[in-house]
Subunit: 428 residues, 2 copies
């Protein structure tokens, strides 16, 4: 009844197996009897749904349960190794690609320098080649791949996978990223733009290519890896640019045109005279981003040419650098105080290449947010550093895919159309 | 399998009827054949689910479809008159209560002055009496009532219905509003706090009492009545206080402790010297709320003692008042520009008692938001006045109830436990 997003063909009625798997995605093994008790479903119904999931390989038997006598009942658990996902984090000058399991845990990774300004064709061809290399390295078959997630350093219309007016990506505006990648890899993406019937990819059903901006995928990665049960989280990337990813009610809030979280060009109070590359003045990233810190250090006779230099200077004990970073934290905190009043998150995660500057940055943020926001909103608020570091992007990109392909609807569809059973028998 | 929020007892397996009703809530009449085609379900399955919904009264036969011969097929449509809902908007000095249909459309209303500072008992007793009067006036039975929604002028923990540190509501902090009302009306609310087994209300199953802050219910009301298909909307109330209600992905974003949208005490740029009643300085409502406008008019020798006076002065052509209101709009716009960058809504609705001041307020907001935000986020952004006026609160409170009780899970539960069939036969 509910349309499965991106799946082609007529709607498939719910067979209940997909919903049963949602319950099992917590990883705990359970017997048929335990599942019947937990769901209120008849034993026979649970049996049918377990069988359907076993045929896909997404569910597997594990160990034996304690029994009151007779043949011990079998426990079943979600099998995150049943399929693989690609998570790709494409930055201005780096490409980082991981093959992950269905929990978004990296199995193998490749990171290489790329140049985003080369334009979409060479970058996406490099990505396609890298995916082929990862599949070969890991010994996984193309039919094991359930989806590809990509983060790009600019605004993206998530529903089509096209970048929208990205300021640092010449040639990419409205470029059909999923179509290019699907063609290069000969995939059936399940989207009209990436059709290639009878291709090798179609044996496992459509392989969606999902694209979002880099900060949103970092937010997804940090949420999945470090705060999976938090409903309202704000991830803030502090690097050359400044941006945020919003988790609202456990889901990414992308906004009307995918531009949500664009904090870099919000007015920073008291800095109306600073010019920004966007054409406006007093923008947060012009005042508190990496280049602004570099400029303020230059006035102290300290040379830093990159965000990594700034982090190294703080770590080596440079007091003027620690001061400059803490002041940037305060300025970011002024804007985040408004975000806290508006969104009332329970966790703010500070990530990005400048988050490596230890406590200086986060102390500045905390100082202003706790001083400025209402007690009700900050009573239980945590402001913490990111834990996934450089892996946030690839984990988040893979998580974007698993959230999409492991929905109840999609699994019901895959079972009804038997699009997963071929590969399951191959890997069983 | 999915737990029905607030429904007591063991989980009930999905029977599919609730999901069929979701499809029919668009109001369009459809034949069994059309429903089978639309859902991909077997004709026999559709027939069973239609019968189950007919028994509840939520679905009814309407007219006849064009036929190719033989007995013409019957069309079925959602029947919003099958039950009634209470929507209550409680302000500092007013109480406004409506009995609505299942689309949140008011059937009859009572508005009377109340005093929130009298404390919860007298105010909620007045509300219970008013609900009894509305049921009597409209000739509806107590068993027709499916839920009560209440908006209060302060922060509310929505999951329990308790106000949280409300600044203008002495005696209300953490007061159990649903329990008081359920006891006064002898209802079974379905919540542990409001249990009264065997009470008159239990013939139609639990009657939930849902509570939220006034701005959130105004946002729900304006969204339901004027922008039902908008996914991302920001409702801003401008009155004595200033606050916002956020619709994210079509749903209200309440935040970690229900404090989301609290814009009144955000720092307004450039007003650091203005003292606010909250103990901080430069807060938006201290600079741009009704009392701040009154104070600035006083300097021009103009006397206004209420927000209504300000609106009347603007309407009667007072240029200094129009200037003061426009300047308040600009200040609010500075904060909303940050909100637009963060949330990327497609619609901002300006409501509250000062929104009646015509174009002056909204022109000030537009001037700053369009000047300050990035082109991508404002390209399709509409900034419009509220259309529901004084009814926003009662419509929104009723909408909060219908969104809760008409979910697929709740309807499946009501059908499985036959809690709706008694009343259905009584009203059939």
């Amino acid at each position: 009844m509910r349309a499965a997003g991106g799946v082609s063909g007529p709607p498939v009625p719910s067979n209940g197996a997909g919903e049963l798997l949602q319950l099992l995605r917590d990883g705990r093994p359970r017997t048929r009897a335990e599942l019947a008790k937990l769901t209120g479903l008849a034993r026979s119904t649970v049996g049918q749904r377990v069988d359907a999931l076993l045929a896909t390989g997404l569910l597997g038997p594990v160990g034996e349960a304690a029994s009151t006598g007779g043949r011990p009942p079998v426990r079943f658990a979600f099998n995150p190794q049943a399929r693989v996902v690609v998570g790709a984090d494409i930055g201005a000058t780096h490409g980082h690609v991981a093959l992950t399991d269905l929990l978004g845990r990296p199995l193998c990774e490749i990171a290489e320098p790329i140049t985003i300004t080369d334009g979409p064709a060479p970058v996406l061809d490099w990505l396609a080649t890298t995916i082929e290399r990862l599949l070969t390295q890991s010994g996984r078959d193309r039919t094991d791949l359930v989806g590809i997630g990509i983060g790009l350093p600019g605004p993206v219309e998530h529903s089509t996978g096209r970048p929208m007016q990205p300021p640092i990506m010449p040639g990419w505006d409205r470029y059909d990223v999923p179509h290019h990648l699907a063609t290069a890899l000969r995939l059936d993406t399940g989207f009209p733009t990436g059709s290639s019937a009878g291709s090798p990819g179609s044996a496992t059903g459509p392989v969606p290519v999902l694209v979002d901006n880099d900060v949103n995928i970092m937010a997804l990665g940090e949420h999945a890896a470090a705060h999976p049960h938090v409903q309202h989280l704000l991830f803030v990337k502090v690097a050359t640019g400044i941006g945020a990813g919003i988790i609202s009610g456990g889901r990414l809030h992308r906004g009307a045109v995918g531009a949500a979280g664009d904090l870099g060009h919000v007015a920073a109070p008291g800095h109306a005279q600073v010019l920004c590359r966007c054409g406006n003045t007093g923008c947060l990233e012009a005042v508190a981003g990496g280049p602004a810190i570099t400029t303020s250090l230059h006035a102290h006779g300290i040379t830093a040419t990159s965000n990594e230099d700034i982090v190294q200077l703080v770590r080596s004990g440079s007091i003027p650098t620690a001061h400059a970073v803490r002041q940037a934290g305060r300025t970011i905190g002024e804007v985040l105080a408004t975000c806290v009043s508006l969104l009332n998150p329970s966790v703010i995660v500070i990530g990005g290449s400048l988050a490596g500057a230890g406590e200086s940055l986060i102390a500045g943020v905390r100082e202003v947010v706790y001083g400025r926001s209402l007690p009700l909103a900050t009573g239980d608020l945590q402001i913490v550093p990111a834990t996934t570091g450089r892996q946030a992007g690839v984990i988040g990109a893979a998580t974007m895919v698993t959230q999409h392909v492991l929905t109840a609807d999609r699994i019901d569809h895959a079972i009804a159309t038997q699009s997963m059973s071929h590969a399951a028998s191959a890997t069983a």
